[in-house]
């Protein structure tokens, strides 16, 4: 039983590392700061949560990792929102093939 839990934890850590890797690939390949933030927040948050849950199982039910998951889930999107907002405020343009920018239009009206 105990062995199985440890193995499951290691598998989860492996999946988490793969998600983190995908996030990093996205960070390199996507064109502008907003798209890169998308990859960076989503994949890295879920990857980190998988890794932490894996350590929860493999490390003998460490409850600290559950607490860490809660904090990561709260803070990561907030940080992404702050970076995106700051980028838009400092007039960083969207990628040239972007479809629409309602925020820019609304700001011009005001």
């Amino acid at each position: 039983m105990n062995e199985a839990v440890v193995i499951a934890g290691k598998v989860l850590i492996f999946i988490g590392v793969i998600f983190d890797l995908l996030g990093c690939i996205g960070l390199v390949r996507l064109p502008d700061v907003y798209n890169r933030l998308q990859a960076a927040t989503k994949c890295v948050t879920l990857g980190t949560c998988f890794i932490l849950f894996g350590t929860f199982l493999a490390g003998g039910f460490l409850t600290k990792s559950i607490l860490a998951i809660i904090f990561v889930v709260f803070s990561s999107p907030t940080a992404a929102h702050a970076i995106a907002h700051a980028a838009h405020r400092s007039k960083i343009k969207l990628w040239e093939k972007s479809v629409v920018d309602k925020y820019e239009e609304e700001k011009e009206k005001v």
Binding site: L30, K64, P77, Y103
Partner: protein, 162 residues
């Protein structure tokens, strides 16, 4: 009332962090939680009476699996776009409207939007509009975009934080 709510929350956090019933540890936890709750209760807690309604916690429990499901879908979606050689993205910033009235609810909605399929909240206005960066824009119109992005979460979040 506000202080009591923050005391309970911070003491539970302490219990999870230390995970022991060793008496000195518990006493330190009580002391630290008291200090925290006396200093910060007015900043963090706005509607203390909502905390004692069990219904909200039940809806939160219902919300978590839905959220995890959409989160994993989002990740597979982004992974597909990132690995595809042609990079199939059509990014843009759209405007959506939310009916949530409380600050906590709106923040929870904004964070949920950021963590789910191809969307990232850029700005949250006081009158209930969100500007959302969408990696693959399917609808430019405010109502259409609201239907596709917000409606998945809004009904449950309204019960939890509304």
């Amino acid at each position: 009332m506000k202080k009591l709510v923050l005391f309970i929350v911070s003491f539970i956090t302490w219990l999870i962090l230390t995970w022991t019933v060793y008496l000195p540890s518990l006493l330190i936890g009580v002391g630290v939680s008291l200090i925290v709750s006396f200093w910060f209760a007015d900043i963090f807690i706005r509607h203390p009476q909502n905390f004692f309604q069990i219904k909200r916690f039940l809806y939160l429990l219902l919300y978590i699996p839905i959220f995890i499901f959409y989160c994993i879908v989002a990740n597979l979606d982004v992974a597909y776009r990132v690995l595809h050689p042609k990079l199939p993205i059509e990014p843009g910033i759209v405007k959506v409207k939310t009916e949530l009235s409380t600050l906590t609810g709106r923040v929870a909605l904004a964070n949920s939007i950021t963590l789910t399929p191809g969307t990232l909240t850029v700005e949250l206005t006081d009158d209930g509009y969100l500007y959302v960066h969408w990696i693959n824009v399917k609808a430019i119109d405010v109502e259409e975009a609201t239907k596709m992005i917000v409606k998945k979460f809004e009904p449950i979040l309204k019960e939890v934080f509304g």
